[in-house]
Amino acid sequence: MKIILNGEPLEIGAGTSVAMLVQRLSDQTGRDPRGVAVERNREIVPKSRHAATVLEEGDQIELVQFVGGG
């Protein structure tokens, strides 16, 4: 199943939740998943709903965090 993550296509398994996606990326990058915000199809997915929110074919996901800026 294909989704668009931060503008790039990504292949994921059916039934993958936002929580699983965030965890997977945090494992990959070795990063603390806290301080990350998720937007799905331009709707924010609150942390409280990461686990319950299952991704679907073609979902547009934005995964953002704070960086240095003026």
Binding site: T29, A37, I44, V64
Partner: protein, 261 residues
């Protein structure tokens, strides 16, 4: 004051701050240098940007590992937003990421000047305030728009001294003065400061604070310049509160005229 700053706090959205200097977190050689500079500046608030998580480069440093939200109040900005919608969307994500309502709104008009687009800025401010945000707003030095933004409910008015990153200082002190005279919320000069005296001048005009990034980050020695800015903001604030001497067209001796041998 400097010796006992708690007696002259800066109050933004009901919260008191000892420091009147807000610093950015962009353009530093490293986040470590950034943190050292922020401490040297005595800053309590730092502006931060929101960007996509870098999924490929694992080595990349993380801001919050150096400039921690525990030590500094994060002030999310909307740098890079050119429409009200982009700015609102960005700050909603920032609130989700950090959990704070206090944000810095800027809606820019073009990449050459980074001048604020005031109609879009006002539109975004109204939407954000309706949505429960505490909005510190980057704006032009137009005193009429400053009033409109305050009436819309912004908790701090942040007019530019000069173009972002230009280091040209306070181009129009008269407008800044007009804004200060009329405002009932803090006025913080945002953008344009190039060196210490620029920050002092902003404070001498009666501004409640100064926000800067490039002046510190692009100095040859950013940590030292941060320390300079800390003193400059205190100096300007104290001078404003002390009430300066009048300017004179001719000389006026400092020593007694009587008793000369």
């Amino acid at each position: 004051m400097s010796d006992n700053p708690s007696s002259d706090p800066l109050i933004i959205a009901g919260k008191a701050y000892t420091s009147r200097l807000i610093v950015g977190t962009g353009k530093y050689a490293s986040y470590q240098q950034n943190a050292d500079a922020a401490r040297a500046a005595g800053a309590e608030i730092v502006t931060v940007a929101l960007r996509r998580v870098n999924l490929t480069d694992k080595s990349q440093e993380i801001l919050s590992d150096f400039v921690t939200p525990e030590e500094f109040t994060y002030l999310p900005n909307t740098a890079g937003c050119y429409t009200a919608d982009d700015a609102v969307r960005t700050l909603r994500l920032a609130r989700e990421a950090g959990g704070w309502n206090l944000v810095k709104l800027e809606v820019l008009a073009d990449q050459k000047t980074l001048y604020p687009n005031m109609p879009e800025t006002l539109k975004a401010a109204e939407a954000l305030i309706k949505d429960g945000f505490e909005v510190m707003v980057y704006c032009s030095d137009d005193p009429v728009y400053a009033r409109l933004l305050e009436e819309a409910g912004c908790c701090a008015i942040m007019p530019l001294g000069s173009l972002i990153g230009s280091g040209l200082g306070i181009m129009n002190p008269v407008n800044i003065r007009l804004i200060v005279e009329a405002a009932r919320v803090p006025v913080i000069v945002d953008a344009g400061v190039g060196t210490a005296s620029d920050a002092a001048i902003a404070m001498e005009l009666g501004c409640d604070g100064v926000l800067m990034n490039t002046a510190i980050a692009a100095a040859k020695d950013p940590v030292r310049m941060a320390r300079a800015m800390k003193h400059a903001v205190i100096a300007g604030r104290e001078a404003y509160l002390a009430g300066r001497m009048p300017k004179k067209m001719y000389a006026d001796p400092s020593s007694p005229l009587g008793g000369l041998i």
